[in-house]
C-alpha cells in the first residue's frame, strides 16, 4: 500500500518541484563534507525553507562512505523522509548504489572522474569537472580534498537556485568569521556556480524558493548543544564525562559556551568544573560526589556508558543523591552501531541497577525541549534526591534541527529539601536523614560543610534506618523501600506532563516519544488523508502521569511508535496498565535511521486493515 503516490514523478515531467524533495550527498568520511553540508542546510534554513539534515556517518575517522540527507518540505514537515530526488555523488566506493537509489525523474550530480558503470534513462545526469576546477583555482594539494566538496555546493546553488548571499553568510558562521577560510571556500563555490551557469542547461525540475512564515523566530541547532546551554542556564556547576559517540558534544558544547556564559565577572574564573573522567564509572562517581556535596552535577553518555554506571546509579538511588545523566542513545546491544540512532535504552535507563530500582526519565523531542529539560532534570534530581535520566538520541543530539527559540528560564531553580545549620539546630535531635517528615517520601538532607555538629550523617548503599545508621532489620529495610516508592509516586506529579492532541471521533491513539515527534505528526496527516483520525500523546517522562493512563483508557487501539526493536515504551505502558494490554500494538523500527512518517503511517494502516 502506498500512501504517497504523489512522490512518483514521471521521468519526463517538466513540472517544477519547489522546496519539496530530498537531496542525498555521498562523500568520503573525513573529506570535510560536513562543512559543505552544514553550509547547505544553513543556507536553506536562512532562506526560510523548512528543512532537516541527517548525517549518516560511519564509525570511522577517514575513508568510509558517509551520507548527508537533506529534506526540504514546503509543508513544514521536519521528520526524515525516505527517498532521494537529488543525488550528489562524490564517493567512488558507493557511487553505483547511490545512483541506483535515485527515484525516477530525479537528478544525479557527480564527480566526472568517478567510474560510472551504467546510465539510467529515467534520471538526469550532471557531471561536475571537480578535478579540473580545483586545478583551475590553483588549490594546494593539502586543501584540495576539502575544497572539492564546495564544487557541489556551487552546482546545487545554480541548479536549485540557492541564494549565494546566504551561502556566504553560512560560511561566515561556520568558520566563525575566519576570512581566509571563508574566501577560499566561497571562491570555489562561485567558480562552480559560474561554470555551471555557462555550461549546463538547467532543464531539471527541482527548485528552491525563499519562504516566509515558517523559520522566522526559529533557530537551527543540535540537541546536544541545546542540552549544554540548558545546563549552563540552569546552574550546572559540575560536569564529568567520558568521550562516547553520540554524546561527546554535550560536554564539548559546554566547554565552548561555558567561558562566555559562566565566568565570574569579579574574579574572571569559571563558576563550573568540567572533568573528563577516565571512564564512565568515574564520571558518574564524580557526579554523585558533587551532587552529595550540593552541586548541580551532570554527566552525558550513551548506552555502553549507562551500562558501566549501573552500580553507581543504584547507590545514588538508594542513598538518595541527586545526579543528572544524559543518555544520547545509539544502536545497541554492545558496541552496536555507534554512529547510528536508536531509542533502545528506555528500559535499561528506567530500571538501571540491581535490586528494586526505578528512575525518573525525561524524553525531550526537540532542541528547545533539550534546553528546557536540562533545567527540569536538575530540579527533579535535587527535588527528589535521586538520579534523573534524560534520554535523547543521536538524531536529536547530533543533527541540526529547526527548533523554537529557547525560553529563558523564569522559574527559580528548585534546590530541594536542604537544611542549613540553623534549621538543623532548630530541629534539635529530631532530624533524621531518611525521615519522611512531609509524607511525600522525600526526606531532608544536609550538605557536607554544614557548620552544625548535628548535621552530619553517613551516606551508604548498605541498609540503613531513618537516621542513616547501618541496619539489617527487616522493618527498616522495608520501610525504606516503601518510602522510596512513595517518593516515586510523588515524582509522578512533578515530571513534565505529556503533550496530548485529541481529535474528535478518533478511535485510534498514538503514543510516542522523543525525536519521533516530527515523523509522528506527519504520519497523522497522512493517515488523516486516508480518513483515519488519530489522537496523539507524546510521553515526556517516566513515571507516567495520570493523564497518560487516562488517554490509554480512552481509545480502542493504541499504537506505540518507537525507534527500537522490542517496543520498550510499550512494555512499560503495559506494565502500568495491564488491563489495557490487548489495546497496544507496537510500531517499532530499529535500522539505525530516524523513523519516517510514511513508514509509520503504512505500519499503522497495515494493523488497521
Amino acid at each position: 500500500m502506498s500512501v504517497m503516490a504523489e512522490e512518483q514523478l514521471a521521468p519526463d515531467s517538466v513540472a517544477t518541484r519547489v522546496n519539496n524533495f530530498n537531496i542525498k550527498v555521498a562523500t568520503v568520511n573525513g573529506s570535510g563534507s560536513q562543512t559543505s553540508n552544514n553550509v547547505l542546510i544553513r543556507s536553506l534554513f536562512k532562506m526560510g525553507i523548512p528543512t532537516n539534515g541527517k548525517n549518516l556517518f560511519p564509525s570511522n575517522i577517514q575513508g568510509l562512505p558517509t551520507w548527508y540527507e537533506v529534506r526540504l518540505s514546503a509543508d513544514g514537515y521536519l521528520g526524515r523522509r525516505d527517498g532521494v530526488e537529488i543525488a550528489v555523488c562524490m564517493n567512488p566506493a558507493s557511487v553505483a548504489e547511490d545512483m541506483q537509489e535515485v527515484r525516477p525523474g530525479g537528478i544525479i550530480l557527480y564527480d566526472e572522474d568517478l567510474p560510472i558503470a551504467a546510465h539510467r534513462n529515467d534520471v538526469r545526469y550532471f557531471p561536475m569537472p571537480v578535478k579540473w576546477m580545483l586545478k583551475e583555482a590553483d588549490i594546494g594539494a593539502k586543501l584540495r580534498d576539502y575544497v572539492a566538496n564546495m564544487v557541489y555546493v556551487g552546482f546545487l546553488a545554480y541548479l536549485l537556485g540557492i541564494d549565494l548571499n546566504e551561502i556566504r553568510s553560512a560560511l561566515d558562521w561556520g568558520f566563525g568569521g575566519k576570512e581566509k577560510a571563508v574566501t577560499l571556500n566561497f571562491d570555489m563555490i562561485t567558480r562552480a556556480f559560474s561554470w555551471a551557469e555557462e555550461n549546463v542547461v538547467n532543464d531539471q525540475p527541482y527548485r528552491v524558493e525563499a519562504m516566509v512564515g515558517f523559520n522566522e523566530n526559529k533557530i537551527l541547532i543540535d540537541g546536544n548543544a541545546a542540552a549544554a546551554l540548558g545546563a549552563l542556564y540552569n546552574g550546572v556547576s559540575f560536569m564529568s564525562w567520558y568521550p562516547i559517540t553520540p554524546s561527546s558534544s554535550v560536554a564539548e558544547s559546554a566547554m565552548s559556551y561555558g567561558p562566555k556564559l559562566r565566568t565570574d565577572p569579579e574574579t574572571g574564573k569559571p563558576t563550573y568544573a568540567i572533568i573528563q573522567a577516565e571512564d564512565e564509572l568515574a564520571a558518574i562517581g564524580m557526579v554523585i560526589g558533587a551532587g552529595w556535596a550540593g552541586a548541580r552535577a551532570m554527566t552525558a553518555t550513551s548506552g555502553p556508558g549507562i551500562s558501566l554506571m549501573a552500580e553507581f546509579v543504584g547507590l545514588a538511588y538508594f542513598a538518595e543523591i541527586p545526579a543528572v545523566i544524559w543518555d544520547i542513545q545509539r544502536m545497541g546491544p554492545s558496541t552496536g552501531l555507534p554512529t547510528r540512532t536508536s531509542q533502545g535504552d528506555i528500559l535499561a535507563a528506567y530500571y538501571l541497577s540491581h535490586g528494586d530500582t526505578r528512575h525518573v526519565v525525561l524524553f525531550p523531542s526537540s532542541p528547545a525541549e533539550c534546553f528546557e529539560f536540562a533545567g527540569t532534570a536538575f530540579d527533579l534530581a535535587e527535588g527528589l534526591q535521586t538520579p534523573v535520566f534524560v534520554l535523547s538520541d543521536l538524531d536529536l543530539g547530533m543533527n541540526y534541527w529547526i527548533s523554537d527559540r529557547f525560553e529563558y528560564p523564569t522559574q527559580e531553580m528548585k534546590r530541594g529539601k536542604v537544611l542549613d545549620a540553623d534549621q538543623v539546630k532548630e530541629l534539635g535531635g529530631k532530624w533524621g536523614r531518611y525521615l519522611d517528615t512531609d509524607g511525600d517520601g522525600i526526606p531532608y538532607r544536609t550538605l557536607p560543610g554544614n557548620s552544625s555538629p548535628l548535621a552530619s550523617y553517613f551516606s551508604r548503599g548498605t541498609g540503613h534506618n531513618e537516621y542513616a545508621i547501618y541496619s539489617e532489620r527487616p522493618e527498616d529495610w522495608e520501610a525504606n523501600l516503601e518510602r522510596i516508592s512513595r517518593k516515586f509516586e510523588t515524582a509522578r506529579s512533578m515530571v513534565p506532563a505529556p503533550i496530548i492532541n485529541e481529535v474528535d471521533e478518533a478511535t485510534v491513539g498514538i503514543i510516542s516519544l522523543g525525536s519521533n515527534d516530527p515523523a509522528v505528526q506527519e504520519a497523522r496527516d497522512i493517515l488523516l488523508g486516508q480518513g483515519i483520525k488519530t489522537s496523539y500523546l507524546r510521553v515526556r517522562a517516566l513515571p507516567f502521569t495520570e493523564t497518560t493512563l487516562a488517554f490509554v483508557e480512552q481509545y480502542d487501539q493504541i499504537f506505540v511508535v518507537e525507534n527500537n526493536f522490542d517496543g520498550q515504551l510499550q512494555k512499560i505502558l503495559v506494565n502500568a496498565a495491564p488491563a489495557q494490554a490487548p489495546k497496544f500494538a507496537k510500531i517499532t523500527k530499529c535500522d539505525g535511521l530516524p523513523l519516517a512518517a510514511k513508514w509509520i503511517a503504512e505500519s499503522i494502516m497495515a494493523h488497521l486493515a
Binding site: 533557530i219 546551554l229 574564573k269 577516565e278 551532587g291 552541586a295 548503599g461
Partner: protein, 349 residues
Amino acid sequence: MDRIQQAREATRSPKVNALGLEKTEYRARNSTLCKGCGHNSISQRIVNVAWELGLDQTQIIKLSGIGCSSKSPAYWLGGSHGFNSVHGRMPSIATGAVVANRTLSAIGVSGDGDTGSIGIGQFKHAARRNVPMVYIVENNGVYGLTKGQFSATSDYGQKLKYAGVNALPPLDICFEAIAAGATFVARSFAGDARQVETLLKAAMSHRGIAVLDIISPCVTFNNQPTSSKSYDYGRQHEVELHEIEFVPRFEEIEIEDYDGEVEVQMHDGSWIVLKKVEEDYDPTDRMAAYRLLEESHGDERLLTGLFYIDQSQPNLVEILDLVETPLTALSTEQLRPSRESLEKLIDSL
C-alpha cells in the same frame, strides 16, 4: 554536691583541645570489626590526630569504598559527613565532592582489595589528578569481608586456608602511587602509633593527594607470622626509613640543628622534619623513591616512612582554576547567565 562527688568530678575533668572538645567527641559508632584488627588502631590514630590538631569535624568529609577498611569511617569523627560508596570507586566520589566544595577536607579510607585490585584505576587517576585528600590504604593483604581471598597486595607464595598458594607477585601501593603522580607517599604499620600519627598530621597538611599505605594486620584471615602483613612480621621487620616529626602551623617552629635532617614545609605553613637514621634519603627525589622501593622488594624488610613528597604541584582544584567560592555556595546570579546573554546567543543561531 558532696566531697566524694566533687572529687569524682575533678578526676573526670577531661582534657580538651583548642576547640574545647574532648577526645571522645571525635569518636563515632563502636567498631564492628574483629577485635585486634589493625584498622581499629588506625581509627584511633585518626581520632587522636584530629583531636590534637583541633580539627573542625563539620568541615571534614570521610569517604570510603567497600570492605572492612571502608566500614571504619563510621567509627571516627561522628561530626563529619561520611560516604561509604561502592567497591573501588571512592576516589571518584572524593573528586566530585572536593571540586564541588573546595573548602572541605577529605579523608578517604580504602583497603588493599578496594585500592589495589578493583580500584587500581580510580586510585591511579586520583593520584594523577592530585586530588586534595588524605588517601589511607588499610593494607592487610587479604579480603576480609568475603573471608580470606587474595588481594593484589598479597605476598607471593602466601598460603591461605581456602585460596591456596598465591602464585602472583604483589602490587606495591606506594610504587603505584608515585608512578601515577601522587605528591605525598608514605608507608607505616598500624601498630606503630607514633609514626602513623606523625604521617597523618603531615598528610592532612599536604596540598594535594597524600597516600598513606598502612600495613594493618588482619587477625582473622592473614595473621600468620609468615605474612608480611601480620603483627609478628610487622614488629620484627619494620625498618623506619627515618624518624619523622611534624610541627603544626600553630606551633612555633623551632627545630634544633640536626645532622642529616630534611625539613619540608607543607602547603599550610606547617613543617615536616625527617631525621635520617639509616641512610641518606631525600624524599623529594622521585628516582630515589623508585629505587628505594624497588630494592626493598628483594629483602626481608617492611620499609616505612615518607618515601616521596612534592609540595610544588598544584592540586586538582587549583588546576581547574575555579572561582574561590565553593561551587556549592554560588548565588543564583552566578549560576544563571542573564536573559540578554541568551537572546544574543539565540540570535546568532
